[in-house]
């Protein structure tokens, strides 16, 4: 909920800055709109279920419930579908926020504070719930006892209910602690940061737009893969007609 809303707001921010109708017109926005990008990345990764972000906890409970209940295929397809979420999120992240600045994007600036504040609020809330599921679970447990139902097991600092005993707080602490190893490696090396240009095999006169892979050039959609696997002839659009369509 929180995450989807945050994503909608991100899209709104981009649209407010430039009235575009195709993702391919964007590119390199991450450097122009860093806060929006950060929100997008957080919400997107969380939706795709990257632990320890909070989208993962809820997914985990769904999977476990599905498997416990004997609905293997349901659980499996739920697991696979989170992968497709990831693919979609990354595709968007790449085309809109990474890579070369497109002509449209180079004129854009960070969204105004009024647009950023709600997004940051949502992200803050989802981080809080993600780290301490007890924040929501304890009140729910209280309600349940009040209604005479058996309450879910919950404590303020505890993990998620269910068989897994997965505790997002422990996972986060563990990840941050091991992240320190990487950070230490950076610090010990004391390597100087130098800004350079990207490697093009020596080519110099390639325009920015040509260097940015548009969304349509990235990995194929699952539908096309399934067609290929079934030896169905993939529907390749004739480049000629496609460019024609663009002209009009």
């Amino acid at each position: 909920m929180l995450l989807k809303n945050a994503l909608f707001l991100v899209a709104g921010c981009i649209l407010a800055q430039a009235h575009i109708n195709s993702l391919d017109e964007l590119g390199g926005l991450g450097r122009k709109m860093p806060v929006t990008f950060a929100v997008f990345l957080f919400a997107g990764m969380s939706l795709a279920g990257i632990p320890p972000l909070n989208g993962f906890g809820s997914k985990l409970m769904i999977y476990e419930a599905a498997f416990e209940g004997g609905h293997y295929m349901l659980g499996l397809s739920a697991l696979m579908s989170s992968l497709f979420t990831l693919a979609a999120i990354l595709k968007f992240a790449h085309t809109a926020f990474m890579g070369q600045l497109s002509e449209r994007a180079s004129k854009m600036t960070e969204a105004p504070m009024v647009m950023l504040a709600p997004m940051l609020l949502l992200v803050g809330a989802s981080i809080a719930v993600g780290l301490f599921p007890g924040l929501l679970l304890v009140p729910i447990a209280h309600l349940q006892t009040g209604l005479g139902l058996e309450p879910v097991q919950a404590s303020w600092l505890g993990g998620l209910p269910g068989v897994s005993s997965y505790n997002p707080l422990v996972m986060t602490v563990a990840l941050v602690a091991t992240g320190l190893i990487g950070w230490l490696y950076y610090r010990l090396s004391g390597s100087r940061h130098v800004t350079s240009y990207i490697h093009t095999g020596g080519g110099v006169m390639i325009p920015n737009a040509r260097m940015h892979l548009p969304a349509s050039a990235l990995y194929e959609t699952p539908e096309r893969l399934i067609r290929l696997a079934l030896r169905d002839k993939p529907q390749v659009q004739d480049p000629q007609t496609e460019s024609h369509a663009h002209d009009h």
């Binding site: 130098v194 350079s196 490697h199």
Partner: protein
């Protein structure tokens, strides 16, 4: 510091730049000097695909006018510290292409060359010796 250069000495990564060579030297580099028969991996070397990973750069060819800017650009992409080895007679004097209108070399007009390996093309053993010399220099720089 000493510890680092000791480790660095054991791990020089190679990158090849073709500055308009006739491919003779490249064949020697890629398929003779650095494959099973004359193993450079025992020196810790490893060919990298990207110039940004490289420590020792092997340049072949006489630096033609057409390719000069591109070679310089790729050369600048290799992070410091680095060592340059010019392989073949071409980068030294232009070799058989000497005094051609299309040649901008010798290469050390534009790049600091540390080791020259003459020959047209040089023998694999000579190339490996050149790399070994370059490793000495690289250990001092790292």
């Amino acid at each position: 510091m000493d510890f680092f250069s000791k480790a660095a000495r054991k791990s020089p990564w190679l990158y090849r730049i073709n500055a308009g060579s006739c491919n003779g030297c490249d064949v020697e580099l890629a398929t003779t000097a650095c494959i099973p028969r004359y193993d450079v991996e025992r020196l810790g070397c490893q060919y990298c695909g990207s110039p940004k990973h490289a420590d020792i750069v092997l340049i072949t060819g006489p630096l033609t006018a057409r390719v000069k800017d591109k070679v310089l650009r790729v050369y600048n992409e290799i992070p410091d510290p680095k060592v340059t080895v010019a392989v073949g007679i071409c980068p030294i004097s232009g070799g058989v292409f000497r005094e051609s209108y299309a040649i901008e070399g010798p290469i050390d007009r534009y790049l600091p060359v540390d080791v020259n390996v003459p020959g047209c093309p040089p023998r694999p053993q000579a190339i490996i010796e050149g790399i070994a010399k370059a490793i000495e220099i690289w250990a001092k720089r790292a």
